[in-house]
């Protein structure tokens, strides 16, 4: 007997040790449940975080665009629609009205981290006999590179963008047979053209992107696309990415602005995450419930087995509250121990799985994300579950009539 422990703890621990078979079986059950939850949660967090990380380093949280040109049905004087077939006008490259004002307004908002203008449009890259259609993106590097981490993806040269420079993807470079320092002619539908120097090659990890995307200085794009002084979008990054939807509505409120949030453009991902989270919650609840029921049933049996001893303890001066706590503590200890063993097992399984499942090139599928708070939360929730599960058996023990218990 430890001197610092009160009676309730001493008795709870002794009873658990005394019925070691039951204790080991229920601990194994609790641990397995906890291991499943820990494994599943960590896996899901890792996959989601990895995806978000990839998306958010290559995309603005918010993109402000000029409004769609809306076609109106042609009506006669009496209001009858004369031509019901309404064609959407083709969306030609248009600039955002008053974009400098909008940009300043965005930059003044405390939620906004970076706001930067972009002028983008289709073009043709020509080198000798070869030509490829490309997307020309004109940016201000100081702002834009804080949103899209292009410099981190440069594999040759550097992300330099003066008015004569162009940064292209590795796949386009191969197709056109150009390298860093080579010249490239870029022409657009407006008939304008310019000869630019390739200063850097990037690899964004996607063949389509590496073939089509090119980056030039904002002014260069503006003159090639015939957008003198205009921009096609404003790219905005926020301190809190999840505020994007609200900010989009806010920006929409500003006259003449259409705003797309990254949440909207990745809606499929969020739908999938929601579905996963729902099933995750259902699994957690069912595992938690079966763990609780297991603890409760083991303690019910223990109360029945020990009813005589409980009666004796009552005869010797144990109060109802003390008996109640002896069994609540047993429930809590089972939950806590189970969560510690289960967390260790879950992490072990995760590490083993992470080590064995690899991508084709041998790199990890996703970074291993093990958050300490997961274990703290698991331990607290498991202990509380144990205490709650012990409630019914403990009350039964506390209410035992000592006369009946001793005689029985």
């Amino acid at each position: 007997m430890r001197n610092w422990l009160p009676f309730e703890w001493i008795a709870a621990i002794r009873f658990l040790r005394d019925g070691w078979m039951q204790t080991i079986f229920i601990l194994a059950g609790v641990s397995m449940g906890v291991a499943v939850i820990v494994f599943m949660s960590a896996l899901l967090t890792g996959i989601q975080a990895n995806f978000l990380n990839r998306v958010l380093s290559a995309q603005a949280h918010l993109v402000l665009l000029p409004p769609d040109e809306v076609a109106r049905p042609l009506r006669a004087m009496d209001g009858v629609i004369q031509d019901a077939v309404v064609q959407r006008p083709s969306q030609r490259i248009r600039s955002i009205d008053q974009w400098q004002t909008v940009l300043r307004q965005m930059q003044a908002m405390p939620e906004v981290a970076v706001a930067t203008p972009v002028a983008a449009g289709g073009a043709l890259a020509v080198r000798g006999e070869a030509s490829r259609s490309i997307t020309l993106t004109g940016v201000e590097p100081e702002g834009y590179f804080r949103i899209v981490k292009l410099p981190e993806t440069i594999v040759a040269g550097q992300p330099r963008l003066t008015s004569e420079d162009i940064v292209i993807g590795t796949d386009l470079a191969v197709e056109l047979g150009v390298g860093v320092g080579d010249k490239l002619r870029v022409t657009t539908a407006t008939g304008r053209d310019a000869t630019l120097t390739v200063t850097g090659l990037f690899d964004l990890g996607n063949r389509g992107v590496n073939e089509r995307s090119t980056f030039v200085a904002l002014r260069t794009a503006q003159s090639l696309l015939g957008l003198t002084g205009g921009v096609t979008s404003l790219q905005v990054s926020l301190h809190d990415p999840y505020a994007a939807e609200i900010m989009a509505q806010l920006a929409h409120g500003m006259a003449g602005i259409r705003a797309d949030s990254w949440i909207r453009t990745n809606i499929q991902f969020f739908t999938a995450v929601n579905a996963q989270q729902t099933s995750n919650t259902v699994i957690r609840l069912s595992v938690g419930l079966s763990v609780a029921l297991g603890i409760a049933s083991v303690l019910v049996v223990s109360v029945v087995q020990r009813s005589r001893e409980i009666g004796i303890l009552r005869a010797m001066g144990a109060r109802r509250g003390q008996i109640l706590r002896v069994f609540l503590i047993q429930g809590g200890v089972l939950g806590l121990l189970g969560s510690i063993i289960g967390s260790a097992a879950g992490v072990g399984a995760l590490v083993a799985w992470h080590a064995s499942v690899r991508q084709a090139d041998g790199s990890a599928l996703f970074p291993l994300m093990i958050q300490p708070q997961l274990f703290v939360v698991t331990a607290v929730v498991a202990s509380l579950t144990g205490v709650l599960a012990a409630m019914a058996p403990a009350l039964r023990a506390a209410r035992l009539d000592p006369v009946v218990a001793i005689r029985g």
């Binding site: 422990l5 009676f7 005589r308 009552r314 005869a315 010797m316 001066g317 144990a318 000592p402």
Partner: protein, 247 residues
Amino acid sequence: MADASAPASTEVLRLAGVRKSFGVGTPREVEVLHGVDLVLQRGEFCALIGPSGSGKSTMLNLIGLLDRPTAGTLFIEGQDTRTLDDAALTRLRGRNIGFVFQHHHLIGAFTAAENVMMPLLLDRRRPDAAMRRIAEGLLDRVGLLPWKDSRVGNLSGGQQQRVAIARALAMYPPLVLADEPTGNLDTKSADGVFDLLREMNQTSRTTFLIVTHDPRLAQRCDRIIEVVDGRIVADGAVPAPRRIAAS
């Protein structure tokens, strides 16, 4: 005798008109004790005898505050127990009454010394060195000090009953109730346990009320109370010569 001139010894227990019915309010209501009056003085060593089913255990449960009378009053150390709630009864019981049952009823998950300490632990909440000393002293008196760290399951029936007696005395209660403490033992062990109760009574002036079926043992008590059909039908001192003859 030295204390012939001393004032009457103090009252440990008083029952006045105590009745007990079971199944009150049901068709199976039955009165088991029909108005029991009884006073026990400090240091008395009493036998409670009577046929099986006469209400001896019921009476002991009432006296031990494990159950409440249907009518009548019960005083422990002069305190009226009628108005006390469960917590107060538990405290009064823990501090004033020791129990020895027929089936030793030790707690199997604990050692002999820990079982003896249990009433002290329940009263003071945390174990301490003084408790250990008291427990070991009592185990020594019942001759089981060498077994103090044994699990009680490893002791013989007689040894277990000795541990139970040591435990009943842990709080130095004024009153010890024993319900057929030797009922489960062979004659030799039974004599040993009875001698031990007697010795405890004489050294610590604890009052004992012992239910027994064994007339030989009853004759060795100071006083015999006989219950038949829920009434005390005889209550008297055992003449000293018979006591000596019995032992």
